[in-house]
């Protein structure tokens, strides 16, 4: 059975382009132009993944509300925000509502598909029993590449997909400096320096909420970041 991807986007050209790309990849696609349409459809049947724009027709923040309602229906459903808005505040609020990723429309279709694939992989991996060989351990850190899950001292750190990939890229080679471009490539995103910086800042904060003494992600000024054990 094909996986069903729901696209909630008020711009028809974008919506249809995305739909075409997902169809090409072998997904089933449903598209909705506004929150009301989407919610009535979701009530009947939940999609396997939702790609949501933030501003929907006459609701500037309709995407957020939709995400909240969707999350209430399902805790596991992968949700991706895909928006023209790139402000830090939007990203923070989107991720706080339980979205798995927050992407801007700069992202290429190929990168978007890669993410969607990765998220489905994670859903599958979560259903299977743990495969310990897939787990990268760096001190207190345990990274499960399949499930895209990070643990610190045995506690799960809730990272967005982009954040997980950044941590993964850093922790795979501890001590090596990863510059911003490398991190962007690893995370399949095109971001500017400030967005990388705020991602790293968020990652640190999430780890620090578990371990206030967390200091493993170091800034190498002018170059990038490295993982220190």
């Amino acid at each position: 059975m094909k996986r069903l991807v729901a696209i909630v986007e008020d711009e028809p050209a974008i919506r249809d382009n995305y739909a075409a790309a997902f169809l090409r990849e072998g997904y089933a696609v449903r598209t909705y132009a506004n929150r009301a349409q989407a919610m009535s459809a979701f009530a009947a049947r939940l999609p396997d993944l939702a790609v949501i724009d933030i501003s929907l027709e006459d609701e500037p923040e309709g995407g957020f509300e939709l995400c909240r309602q969707l999350r209430a229906l399902s805790a596991e459903l992968p949700i991706i925000f895909l928006t023209a808005r790139d402000s830090e505040l939007d990203a923070v609020s989107g991720l706080r509502l339980g979205a798995d990723d927050f992407l801007t429309k700069d992202l290429s279709l190929a990168h978007l598909i890669a993410r969607v694939n990765a998220l489905f992989r994670r859903v599958e991996a979560l259903r299977r029993p743990n495969a310990p060989e897939e787990i990268v351990r760096r001190g207190a850190l345990a990274l499960d590449a399949e499930r895209m899950q990070a643990q610190w001292d045995g506690q799960v750190v809730l990272l967005s997909l982009t954040e997980f990939w950044i941590v993964h890229a850093l922790a795979r080679h501890p001590g090596h400096v990863r510059n911003r471009q490398q991190l962007m490539d690893a995370a399949n995103v095109v971001l500017d320096d400030n967005t990388i910086t705020s991602h790293v800042k968020r990652i640190r904060r999430k780890f620090q909420s578990i371990d206030p003494k967390f200091d493993a992600v170091q800034t190498v000024y002018g170059m990038g970041y490295r993982w220190v054990e």
Binding site: A13, S87, D106
Partner: protein, 666 residues
């Protein structure tokens, strides 16, 4: 001309007050003078009226009875008014001459002399004067051979007779009397009167009331005499007996009849009581004089001098003021005269002349003038200083306004407290106008500042349509010939995307600043690490660091500092030729750490100064492919201001390049 100076000059215009005051004082002085003249005229007329018909006082002439006006010969009783050839008119002396035979203490008045002569060789001049109750007589007799009486002889012995001077006069009863004076040598002369005894024998007793002195002079002698007026009636004469040898027949001439020595002429002189009569009207600063109708002074009372000394007691200020006010040629004396008539109201018997010093009203005027000038000058001073203070205050307000309007533009946001906007005057209007203008300008610039971000946002959606369409197209069956165009379209859209990201950079930095946390950190490792990265990123430039030896700890966000440094290095790389040496320097001064980036290359144009760090401003003639929106240095400024500092740029000496300086407060 500064506002201050202009208002000061305007303030000086209040000096018209004291000027007007001076004019007023002059007017007042004229009025006062006129009043004084009138009252003086009244005084003189009153005194003159009181002297009407008082010929006894004026001329020691018994007043005619009131009905004498009907007398047929009107002027019969007024012999003193006619000028007989032998009449003597004594001067009113102001001091008593010393009886010494010399003339130097007499007034020098050639017209007062009377001359009598027999022939060329016999001639004498006579000058008479009255002082108080005495008649003084000065005789200058031409005599080639002065001859003294033989000393020690009987003055009645004709053989002993030398030169003699006879005085003949009528006494108060009108009886003719004679005395003679015979000198026996230079010095005092005694007067003797001839008396005929009961039996006809004659004697010449000394007349003690008459004193005299004899002195020789060239071609003659001089005799000075003093006779009490009380001895004298109206007739008076002098006869000179000139003898060439003792006992010889004399040459007699003069104003006495030579046979019986009766008087030919009259002594026209005021009664001594006239002076005391005048004295009762005296007051300081006044002079009264009674003259004959022809102007000869009969008597005077003089207290003019009693009011002098004005200058010495007046303050310096008053004298200074007076110099400004006094017109040249102002008379210091007021004069008035009134005729004195006889009882008939027709015959002029004399004149009263009253003189008053101007001192009295000058003093009055000075007093008023002083007060007025002091008042108006201090008013002027107050006005001038008030105006000056006001001008200074205005200038201060204006300069505050100017400073505020100058600095308002260079700040990120408008100063909310624009000065003077609460003022209710025109300056407040200007300030409010400025404030509104700047508010609008600020709105406009902030619109411009956010325009890039907004544009980026708005363009993003259509761009996404283009890009996603292109990507979908790539998956379709596209003829190979079309692939080229597809690829070009894709590249174009990638560039557009890069431009969008660059356009939004400032907005993202502002966001980053908004959420940045300040930590204390050492600048040294941050700079070292960043410069190391630049060496890798820009292999075609050389980098040099000049850093202090010790740690430089500041509070701030190291990420932002690096970002700022990125922009500075980007800028330095863009404007320096290949292979150039870029210097990154960290200096310390008292309050701040200074990061300086020097790059060789073209100097900054003068006109860009101050605008370099504004949003959307760039002066480069960029030809490289990377998009530039003039946001780099604006971001530098934002980050510097976040660190409580500022960014500036200067040219290196000799135009060899540019130096960008960022102050970060410590």
């Amino acid at each position: 001309m500064s506002l201050r100076l202009k208002l000061l000059l305007l303030g000086l215009a209040t000096l018209v007050l004291p000027w007007g005051g001076c004019q007023y004082a002059r007017e007042m002085e004229s009025a006062l003078r006129e009043g004084e003249e009138n009252s003086l005229q009244a005084v003189s007329q009153t005194i003159a009226a009181s002297l009407q018909g008082r010929t006894d006082l004026l001329y020691r002439e018994a007043p005619r009875p009131a009905d004498a006006a009907d007398a047929p010969d009107e002027n019969a009783g007024h012999a003193f008014l006619q000028s007989g050839p032998y009449d003597l008119r004594p001067l009113a002396l102001t001091a008593a001459p010393l009886l010494d035979g010399y003339s130097d203490d007499w007034p020098h008045d050639p017209s007062a002399w009377a001359y009598f002569e027999k022939d060329d060789r016999h001639r004498f001049g006579i000058l008479t004067g009255v002082y108080e109750r005495m008649l003084y007589v000065l005789l200058e007799v031409r005599d080639e051979h002065p001859l003294f009486d033989a000393p020690g002889t009987n003055p009645l012995d004709p053989g002993s007779f030398g030169d003699r001077v006879w005085l003949g006069f009528q006494d108060s009863q009108g009886e003719e009397r004679q005395v003679f004076l015979a000198a026996t040598g230079p010095g005092a002369v005694t007067a003797r009167r001839i008396e005929t005894g009961e039996y006809g024998q004659q004697s010449a007793p000394i007349e003690p009331r008459i004193h005299g002195a004899w002195q020789p002079m060239s071609h003659g002698y001089r005799m000075e005499l003093r006779v009490p007026l009380s001895m004298l009636g109206n007739g008076f004469g002098v006869l000179v007996d000139d003898r060439d040898a003792r006992g010889a027949e004399p040459v007699s001439y003069g104003t006495l009849r030579s046979d019986d020595l009766h008087t030919l002429g009259r002594l026209i002189v005021a009664a001594p009581e006239l002076s005391s009569y005048l004295a009762q009207f005296m007051q300081p600063g006044l002079k009264l004089a009674v003259t004959t109708p022809s102007g000869r002074v009969l008597a005077r009372a003089d207290a003019l001098a009693q009011l002098t000394g004005l200058g010495s007691e007046t303050p310096v200020l008053a004298r200074l003021y007076r110099r400004f006010v006094d017109r040249p040629g102002t008379r210091a004396l007021l004069e008035s005269s009134a005729p004195i008539y006889d009882r008939d109201h027709k015959t002029l018997i004399g004149k009263l002349e009253v003189t008053q010093t101007a001192n009295r009203w000058i003093r009055l005027r000075d007093h008023a003038l002083m007060r007025m000038l002091n008042f108006s000058l201090s008013t002027s001073a107050v006005a001038v200083s008030l105006m000056f203070a006001f001008a200074a205050w205005l200038a201060l307000r204006l300069s505050r306004l100017r400073q505020a309007s100058e600095s308002a533009l260079t700040r990120t946001g408008l100063v909310t407290s624009f000065p003077e906007t609460d003022a209710r005057d025109e300056l407040g209007d200007v300030a409010r106008g400025f404030s509104t203008l700047l508010q609008r300008l600020n709105e406009y610039t902030s619109y411009l500042r956010t325009l890039a971000g907004k544009l980026a946002h708005e363009i993003r959606t259509p761009l996404t349509i283009v890009r996603s369409s292109l990507e979908n197209l790539e998956s379709e069956q596209v003829p190979p010939a079309a692939r080229t165009y597809l690829e070009r379209a894709r590249q174009g859209s990638e560039r557009l995307n890069a431009i969008l990201i660059a356009m939004g950079a400032a907005t993202r930095v502002e966001e980053a600043i908004g959420s940045a946390e300040r930590v204390s950190f050492d600048l040294l490792p941050v700079l070292q690490s960043a410069v190391a990265a630049y060496r890798g990123a820009f292999p075609e430039r050389a980098f040099r660091t000049e850093l202090p030896a010790e740690a430089v700890v500041i509070r701030g966000a190291p990420d932002l500092i690096v970002q700022m440094l990125d922009k500075l290095i980007d800028n330095a790389v863009d404007f320096s030729p290949g292979g150039a040496l870029i210097t990154v320097r960290l200096r310390l001064d008292a309050q701040a750490a200074l990061i300086e980036v020097d790059n060789p290359g073209p100097a900054l144009p003068v006109q860009v100064e101050g605008r370099l760090f504004e949003s959307l401003w760039q002066s480069r003639a960029g030809t490289d492919s990377r998009p530039h929106f003039g946001l780099g240095l604006y971001i530098v400024r934002l980050i510097a201001e976040f660190h409580g500092g500022e960014a500036s740029a200067v040219n290196l000496p000799e135009g060899s390049g540019a130096r960008f300086v960022v102050r970060l407060s410590r």
